[in-house]
């Protein structure tokens, strides 16, 4: 058994930023399924938002309003105010830590346009902003030398919560196959999103919702799971992200006829409408037969008019991705794109200091925190604005760290039934070997992903989701019959695949059921059978509680509204 | 066929036999060579690190000299070749910088480099300009029975964008040439590795180990000799072979030939004219032939 004051699960921006806050004061460990530099924060491309006003007269007030409106009024406005108020300080801090940022001619941080933001607000490092920020924090782990313990390539299996008190985690050392209890006075989950349940996704293979499911299985409800963001510019068939910054720099979206179709959907913002609206517009173009390609199943991102020099300076990664993955030279040709599952708005409910809620009444789990994409605080509501996710991870990672610094010295290490916990984790693993092998886990995973993309995607309806619901129930049943074939101890990917699929099947059901219950259209959740927003009945957060039989119960809690009453959302 | 022959420094110093062989081979093939007696050192990637602009001016001067002769350049050293190509590519990709280099060049020499001259290594001339089929016809003394390990050296294959190999990750141009000359090419693991020469003075142990691994690998694959298009590889693998042997603690005794020597021999140039006796590891079997 290992023991630390604080165990942080996840090594992306939120996890590392929290660790930085703690490392000089407490014994802190970071547990990560990959290596810190490989965390998915690094895949964010276009920018990080802050109303610096370096290139126009942007204000924090405008950032707050844009974010509230972008969230389709489901975002909690007190949290959004914190996010936007703290943004300039956060950017300056990262700049001082060494993050390389693209600059203006007068040597300040440059800022570019992004969807749903009414000013040039996105600070950026070419189109590798997440990478630049992540590596800046990874560099800090070297600065802190041996003080920060990093458990790289450990898979987190269980969160230990008893009597409303968090006591640690059970994790699997992927290098040895050994299960271990990591005891802690406080645990922070910064374990990322859950986009892997979709076939067309920009998410890394690691984004299988391990954190949220571990919390859920430990008795924590999950909030707003039905809200999954579809990014408008996923590379066709691959789903790989091509930054919204490409449109921020002036890129067009065109259909097969070469028509800039956004003029019909968001005439004032055009391509820089919020992601939910742009993705739906693309899907409508495709559904109505104006898609490009032999199967008319994609639209095009046209960058040609930007010219080679600008593309190479501002969008080099976009250039390389199109070139390397589908052989398209975006200087010469438009790039085939389609909506791709991108961001999980839902997750572990937490307050503005990242303390996790146990219910809809504001009861906390003692010593359990969540920050970043795995959390739902909720600053993004029903639809996140681009560039607000890197910001959230940094702002709330730091806040979680500060809060833990504040409360952890007053927390005792609660007792842990090590033997019992290890046995439980071991039994969960053994079950994956015990099936008769008549079902194949890869087939189940592919079916799940197709179901989610095609039936719980950009456009949803009751009938599709009911089909998805029964499909997933069937897949869960079939999952019992899979059999892990690899008996090896080290790097047993076969076992990890199975653990991850078990998580995906568990939370996919919550996405579907939350969506089915929510009979309205709001932000990323759009129902063709309930195409309008219904503030009377649905201006509220969904909370899914796990029941003892493995099912769940949906309850709701109100949205925090401080200054901006819901209004019609037009772009 | 006529080329401006760029000798480089080693052909005037510790590798004079390479120049002799290249001249003799070209004579046999009817390839006319005009030696560039005024061309300066390419910088060998070293002057470039001390002062990139000076290195680029030196090389632009060399190119301008060839342009004045109206000839393409033939190199007999892949390091010179690689450095030249890299310099040309750099200038061509940065027009403003090219102009700057030309201004400096003009100030010192009255010349400008226009971008017309091509640089080719001796073996590339044979492969692409002369043609292997034609060369095969000229072979009067096939090197039958000789097992030869081609050692490409770094500059022949890297960076891939400045060489003409069909498949730089797994080239076979030198093997093709060996085969045309009647010898048997031997493939071995280390044929694309570094010989260690550039760090001979910085970290001799590493340099000797790199050279030693290459020779040992060729020997293990059954090679009678190694053959290289780079006289610097030749120097490290040949002149230092006794030191390499003592570091590895084993005898190697693998002769290291220059490509032009091999070509000249197959074309009927007497071994005695090729100064094989100057090699530290003498290719005694070849010398007797």
């Amino acid at each position: 058994m290992y023991s630390h004051d604080v165990v942080i699960v996840g090594s992306g921006l939120a996890g590392l930023r929290a660790a930085m806050e703690l490392v000089d004061h407490l014994d802190v460990a970071v547990v990560t399924k990959v290596y810190p530099s490989r965390s998915h924060s690094g895949a964010a491309q276009g920018g990080v938002a802050a109303a610096l006003g370096n290139v126009d007269d942007d204000t924090v007030e405008a950032h707050i309003y844009d974010t509230v409106k972008g969230s389709d009024f489901l975002g909690d406005q007190d949290a959004i105010e914190i996010l936007c108020n703290d943004a300039p300080r956060t950017i300056y801090e990262m700049e001082h830590l060494g993050c390389p940022f693209s600059r203006t001619a007068d040597n300040k941080l440059n800022q570019r346009a992004f969807g749903g933001h009414s000013y040039l607000r996105a600070c950026f490092s070419a189109d590798r902003t997440g990478h630049a920020l992540l590596h800046t924090l990874v560099e800090q782990t070297y600065k802190h030398g041996g003080k920060l313990r990093v458990y790289s390539e450990w898979h987190m299996n269980r969160l230990i919560v008893e009597d409303g008190v968090c006591r640690g985690i059970v994790a699997l050392d992927i290098k040895t196959g050994q299960l271990e209890v990591l005891r802690a006075r406080a645990v922070l989950f910064a374990s990322g999103g859950y986009g892997q349940a979709f076939k067309i996704t920009s998410n890394a293979a690691a984004n299988t919702g391990d954190g949220i499911v571990a919390a859920y299985r430990a008795g924590v409800p999950l909030q707003d799971m039905e809200f999954v963001q579809f990014h408008p510019t996923g590379l066709y068939e691959h789903g790989i992200l091509l930054t919204e910054g490409a449109r921020g720099e002036g890129g067009y979206l065109i259909n097969a006829e070469g028509d800039r179709f956004m003029s019909r959907y968001a005439p004032s913002k055009m391509e820089l409408g919020p992601r939910d609206i742009v993705s739906r517009s693309e899907q409508t173009e495709i559904n109505e037969g104006r898609g490009a390609g032999p199967h008319k199943d994609y639209v095009l991102l046209d960058l040609r008019h930007l010219g080679r020099a600008k593309i190479m300076e501002r969008l080099p990664q976009v250039y390389n991705l199109a070139k390397d993955f589908i052989g398209v030279d975006c200087v010469e040709e438009p790039v085939p794109i389609q909506p791709t599952a991108h961001y999980s708005m839902g997750g572990i409910p937490a307050d503005n200091d990242c303390q996790v809620y146990l219910d809809e009444n504001g009861t906390h789990v003692t010593g359990f925190f969540a920050a970043g994409e795995c959390s739902c605080i909720s600053v993004h509501g029903a639809n996140r604005l681009g560039t607000n996710s890197l910001l959230e991870a940094l702002v709330f990672g730091r806040r979680a760290g500060k809060k833990m610094l504040d409360v952890v010295p007053g927390l005792k290490q609660a007792g842990v039934d090590e033997e019992g916990e290890l046995l439980a984790a071991q039994q969960e693993i053994e079950a994956l070997y015990a099936g008769d092998g008549s079902e194949d886990l890869h087939a189940i995973r592919e079916e799940l992903k197709e179901t989610m993309t095609y039936q719980v995607g950009v456009y949803r309806c009751g009938e599709d989701m009911r089909q998805a619901q029964s499909a997933i129930a069937g897949l869960r049943e079939r999952f019992r019959k899979i059999q892990v074939k690899d008996r090896g101890g080290n790097f047993n990917l076969n076992l990890i695949d199975a653990l991850e699929l078990s998580n995906m099947l568990e939370y996919a059901e919550l996405i579907v059921d939350g969506g089915l219950a929510r009979e309205e259209s709001r932000g990323a959740h759009f129902r063709t059978d309930f195409p309008t927003r219904d503030d009377v009945h649905w201006l509220k957060h969904t909370l899914a509680f796990r029941t003892d039989d493995g099912g769940h119960e949906l309850r709701y809690k109100p949205v925090t509204i401080t200054r901006f009453e819901p209004e019609e959302r037009k772009y | 066929m006529k080329y401006a022959l760029y000798t480089g420094c080693v052909a005037k110093g510790a590798g004079r036999e390479n120049l002799v062989a290249a001249r003799l081979a070209c004579e046999k093939l009817g390839i006319e060579l005009v030696e560039m007696t005024d061309a300066a050192c390419c910088g060998a990637g070293v002057i470039n690190e001390d002062n990139p602009l000076v290195a680029d001016i030196l090389n632009a001067r060399t190119f301008a000299l060839a342009e004045a002769q109206g000839l393409d350049i033939m190199n007999i050293c892949t390091t010179c070749q690689g450095v030249h190509r890299k310099a040309q590519r750099k200038l061509q990709s940065k027009p403003e910088y090219w102009t700057r280099v030309n201004e400096e060049l003009e100030r010192d020499t009255g010349r400008r480099y226009q971008g017309e001259v091509k640089v080719k290594h001796f073996y590339e001339v044979l492969l692409h300009d002369y043609g292997l089929a034609r060369l095969r016809e000229k072979v009067v003394r096939p090197l039958a029975g000789l097992k030869l390990a081609a050692f490409y050296g770094c500059y022949a294959t890297r960076p891939p964008e400045v060489n003409d190999l069909a498949n730089p990750d797994d080239p076979d141009e030198l093997e093709q040439l060996i085969e045309v000359l009647g010898a048997t090419p031997v493939r071995y693991d280390e044929r694309l590795k570094c010989c260690g020469f550039p760090i001979a003075m910085v970290n001799k142990e590493n340099s000797m180990q790199l050279g030693g691994n290459a020779i040992a690998s060729a020997k293990a694959a059954g090679a009678d000799a190694m053959v290289t298009p780079c006289p610097l590889c030749h120097l490290n693998l040949d002149a230092y072979q006794p030191e390499i042997e003592s570091q590895l603690g084993r005898k190697l005794r693998v002769p290291i030939l220059h490509i032009p020597q091999l070509v000249a021999m197959a074309l009927g140039v007497p071994a005695a004219a090729l100064r094989l006796g100057t090699h530290i590891v003498r290719p005694t079997a070849l010398m007797a032939s």
Partner: protein, 320 residues
């Protein structure tokens, strides 16, 4: 295009079962446009779930999936199978210079630890709670732009020729990381960094083989960064090492006669005060003398060396 059949020859190694790595052939039928990573995952799904590899983002930014394809390090996720197949066989193995843990998975800790040797973080004086950004010009940003694109995939480390013979060499990725701070206008430790990096096992130990830049899947291109560091170290007067003296030897002899003086250069590189170093040159010198392989005692010169002298005379001026 239709699917085509191919043999994937994959190096397998399970420390629990194998004493030596072994090759295993998998016949696969692949659709066009498929990457190595997707093909490997197809093999895991359809043929052998025990195949171990690393991958995550699938879009060439996380740096997890470097493997050797046909003997050279590549990112599996961005490498098209169609670019690599060779006579119907495609070889995949773990990256080099690191211990294999299982199949395609290596222990990357030595690689990550090597980064620690170059103080891989910004050193600056300013306080921790800034209320504005530091200024940096777009040109200054562009200087560090290439080296900041590194994704720590270790492809360069894998194929570095020097590391193959000496694991104490700091390595190409670490040097690129050092570059990222040496050339960062905000960093205040440039002098110390250049000093440390000029020492043995540092920037001058690179043999210039070019493997790092050739294998690098990003714009980092370590060799180019190494060259820039050397230029900077030379300019800032870090001359007390064999690599710098070697460069000075070029400057002094080529700058005089247009060609190298191969008798002078080795002694200059060793350092005229370095008696053991000079003595180590004696055997090879005598050996070459005996075979008349020695460079001529009167150094060669080009026809119009005065032109070269003019250029070199302006050396420092041209540096700017």
């Amino acid at each position: 295009m239709a699917a085509h059949k191919l043999i994937f020859r994959i190096q397998r190694f399970d420390p629990a079962a194998d004493r030596e790595p072994r090759d295993q052939d998998f016949e696969v039928e692949l659709p066009p446009g498929i990457t190595i990573l997707k093909a490997l995952n197809k093999i895991r799904a359809e043929q052998d779930p025990t195949l171990a590899l690393r991958y995550s983002c699938g879009s060439a930014i996380c740096g997890s999936c470097a493997v050797k394809v046909n003997g050279h390090a590549r990112l599996a996720c961005k490498t098209q199978v169609s670019d690599c197949a060779d006579n119907g066989v495609l070889r995949v193995g773990p990256i080099g210079n690191l211990e294999v843990l299982r199949d395609l998975v290596v222990d990357i800790d030595p690689f990550l630890e090597s980064l620690g040797r170059v103080k891989p973080y910004l050193v600056a004086e300013d306080g921790a709670a800034p209320d504005h950004e530091r200024h940096q010009s777009p040109e200054q940003f562009l200087k560090i732009d290439p080296s900041t694109t590194c994704i720590l995939c270790a492809a360069c480390y894998s194929d570095c020729n020097v590391l193959e013979v000496d694991h104490s060499f700091v390595g190409p990725a670490s040097l690129a990381k050092a570059h990222r701070f040496i050339f960062d206008s905000r960093d205040t430790a440039t002098f110390q960094r250049l000093g440390t990096i000029s020492e043995q096992t540092g920037v001058w130990d690179c043999t210039h083989c070019g493997e790092c830049s050739t294998r690098c899947p990003t714009e980092t291109k370590p060799l180019e960064r190494i060259e820039e560091i050397r230029t900077r170290a030379m300019a800032d007067g870090f001359h007390d090492n064999a690599g710098a003296r070697h460069a000075l030897g070029f400057r002094e002899t080529v700058g005089k006669r247009g060609l190298l003086d191969e008798n002078y250069l080795p002694a200059r590189s060793m350092g005229f005060g370095n008696l053991p170093g000079l003595l180590s040159l004696v055997p090879v010198g005598l050996r070459m003398l005996r075979r008349r392989k020695n460079p001529p005692l009167i150094p060669p010169s080009i026809d119009k060396a005065d032109e070269i002298r003019k250029t070199f005379a302006r050396f420092e001026e041209l540096r700017k």
